[in-house]
């Protein structure tokens, strides 16, 4: 009996030793493994990283070759080691590396808009792409000439930044080029006369060695006596412009000047020229009736003249000429151009004047169509972009068109007592 107990005890003792050995082996194996490993994006996945002392037979059970380590992510993997153990581990891929790049030196005129920050750096590289490029201290605003280092921050999509100092050479140039030797030019009225506008004329700029220079001589009529204004213009690289006037005087040699009579306004060259131009326009506007012609006239003026506030006094024909040849004018120009065309077309019309005048005067046309008088206004209004045509008193009765009806003939749909 004692022998049996002794043997059983021995067996249990051995079993206990074996068990304890196994348990310790398992514990050591467990302590050797690193459950969570973090690698930098772009790095290689290495089995050794998951162990404190990498067993020789350690390997990944899950395939890792398909994992793109350039993209931050978290993966669960399985490893096998020590001939018996298979454990789950976690792989974290994180991007903590900032972008790389170089500065692109810049030359900057103080007056000119500063370049975008992205145009100041180049050869940028980041594994996960660039999210933003910006001036570290906001867009610079240096007004004084000098060399400045401007920090530009480049940030990737995981908020890793790099600061790149960009050298800026700032030039504060507010001085336009200067002219030397500009003078009036006197020539005779020969049609073959040639003018050398730059004879005796030079120019110089403080920074730009070759500023751009031209002569505005569009008014000069070779062969025609007169005194013509010309303008020398120079611009430097910073955009500073200098202008200087002179005159080209064309005279008949040894001829005594005589004064010609002024002539009647209606027979003046200016009037005749306007008639010529307007007649050409009217040819394309004539319709089968006065109503249709008038509609075409107001539509044409409305769409061919741009509103431009005129400062100062403008004559009737001056307003018509500007509307026809410069396609611009204020409300008086719209009225005048419409009137001139209506007169040429033989359609009766007259002026209507805003009354009372609260902030500024206004003019439009009263036109006789189909035997009745109607309001028509070709002026382009901000809040009424369509033309007013063949309107009764009530139809045109908005805040822009208040008038004294007692000064006008009876209008279509109008009250003869209207005031």
């Amino acid at each position: 009996m004692k022998k049996i107990i002794g043997k059983i005890t021995g067996f249990l003792y051995v079993a206990a030793i074996v068990t304890v050995s196994v348990i310790f082996t398992i514990r050591d194996a467990d302590r050797n493994i690193i459950r969570t490993v973090t690698i930098e994006a772009g790095d290689e996945i290495r089995i050794a990283d998951f162990f404190r002392e990498c067993p020789k037979d350690a390997k990944f059970v899950t395939p890792v070759s398909g994992i793109d380590t350039s993209v931050p992510a978290i993966y669960k993997l399985t490893v096998f080691y020590d001939e018996a153990f298979k454990k789950d581990v976690v792989l974290k891929i994180e991007d903590h590396t900032g972008p790389k790049g170089i500065a692109i030196p810049k030359k900057q005129w103080a007056r000119v808009k500063w370049p975008e920050a992205k145009d100041c750096v180049g050869y940028l590289y980041d594994l996960n792409g660039i999210a933003k490029i910006e001036y570290q201290n906001g867009t610079p605003d240096y007004e004084i000439s000098g060399l400045y280092m401007v920090p530009v921050v480049v940030t990737d999509w995981y908020n890793n930044s790099a600061v790149i100092d960009v050298p800026f050479e700032v030039t504060d140039d507010h001085n336009a080029p200067l002219f030397y030797g500009i003078h009036d030019i006197n020539i005779d009225n020969s049609e073959n006369a040639v003018i050398n506008y730059f004879d005796g004329v030079t120019w110089k700029d403080d920074f730009d060695e070759e500023p751009r220079v031209i002569v505005d001589n569009k008014n000069v009529e070779i062969g025609v006596e007169g005194s013509y204004l010309i303008t020398y213009k120079a611009v430097d690289a910073a955009g500073n412009i200098r202008t200087q006037d002179a005159f080209v005087n064309i005279k008949e040699p040894n001829v005594i000047n005589s004064v010609l009579g002024a002539g009647a306004a209606w027979d003046s060259n200016e009037h005749n020229e306007i008639v010529r131009i307007a007649s050409g326009v009217l040819d394309s506007l004539k319709g089968s009736s006065d109503s249709e012609t008038a509609k075409n006239i107001f539509d044409w003026v409305h769409s061919h003249v741009t509103y431009e506030q005129i400062f100062g006094v403008q004559t009737y024909e001056g307003a018509v000429y500007q509307a026809l040849t410069k396609h611009s004018g204020d409300c008086y120009g719209f009225y005048a151009c419409s009137k001139f065309l209506l007169d040429l077309a033989g359609i009766p019309n007259m002026m209507v004047v805003r009354y009372p005048v609260t902030y500024q005067g206004h003019y439009w046309n009263l036109v006789k169509i189909d035997g009745e008088w109607y309001h028509c206004d070709s002026t382009m209004f901000m809040n009424h972009p369509t033309v007013y045509f063949k309107n009764t008193d009530s139809q045109i009765g908005d805040s822009r068109h208040r008038f004294d009806g007692s000064m006008l003939p009876v209008r279509a749909g109008g009250n003869p007592e209207y005031a």
């Binding site: 079993a15 082996t25 454990k87 611009s328 500024q360 209004f381």
Partner: protein, 190 residues
């Protein structure tokens, strides 16, 4: 009997250790796939600054874009002191109309204070580049750059884009004497 007992005890110990020490993986033993369990880092969000959407012509000067219908104050600050300035109530009822004259061009606005907006620009200086066209060029240059006009007569070409226009004014022949940018009021504000 003794041998059976011994063998059973040792075998139980071995089996227990194997079962205890083996994988966390309760699977069948097949090769497991790497499973993505999270995105990890979060990306930053970047505000994309919306530059003023320009559905029309704009005039570029000194690197700045002059956009019609927009507030005039920033551009007036850039342009600096004008050589002349006139201001008066517009008879078309849009409040104040102002023209600022510079050596480069005339700059027109409508409205006052914070409501002053860019109305137009008139260029008669041949040095100023209007998108490849200059005063003094022949009208064919304008057509080659701007394309076919919506209106054409002896004294000009009109181009419309969105709520803006360009008038190329000629001398009645074929030479450009003015280039005018402006709001196309018929097409309204943005």
């Amino acid at each position: 009997m003794k041998k059976r007992i011994i063998t059973t005890v040792i075998g139980a110990c071995v089996i227990a250790s194997v079962l205890a020490g083996c994988s966390d993986n309760k699977g069948t033993g097949e090769t497991a796939q790497a499973s993505l369990i999270g995105g990890g880092q979060t990306q930053i969000s970047v505000e994309v600054s919306q530059s003023a959407s320009v559905d029309g012509y704009k005039f570029s000067y000194m690197g700045y874009d002059i956009v019609f219908w927009t507030p005039a104050a920033p551009i007036l600050k850039v342009l600096g002191e004008p050589t002349e300035m006139f201001s008066d109530f517009a008879c078309a009822g849009e409040g104040m109309a102002t023209v600022y004259s510079y050596p480069e061009f005339d700059f027109y606005t409508s409205g006052e204070d914070e409501n002053e907006i860019i109305d137009g620009i008139k260029i008669s200086n041949p040095l100023i580049d209007c998108g490849g066209v200059h005063v003094g060029d022949k009208v064919e240059v304008a057509k080659s750059v701007y394309g076919d006009p919506v209106q054409e007569d002896d004294f000009g070409l009109k181009y419309v884009k969105g709520n803006t226009h360009i008038w190329v004014i000629t001398d009645g022949a074929d030479t450009i004497v003015e280039i005018n940018y402006g709001r196309e009021i018929a097409n309204g504000a943005v």
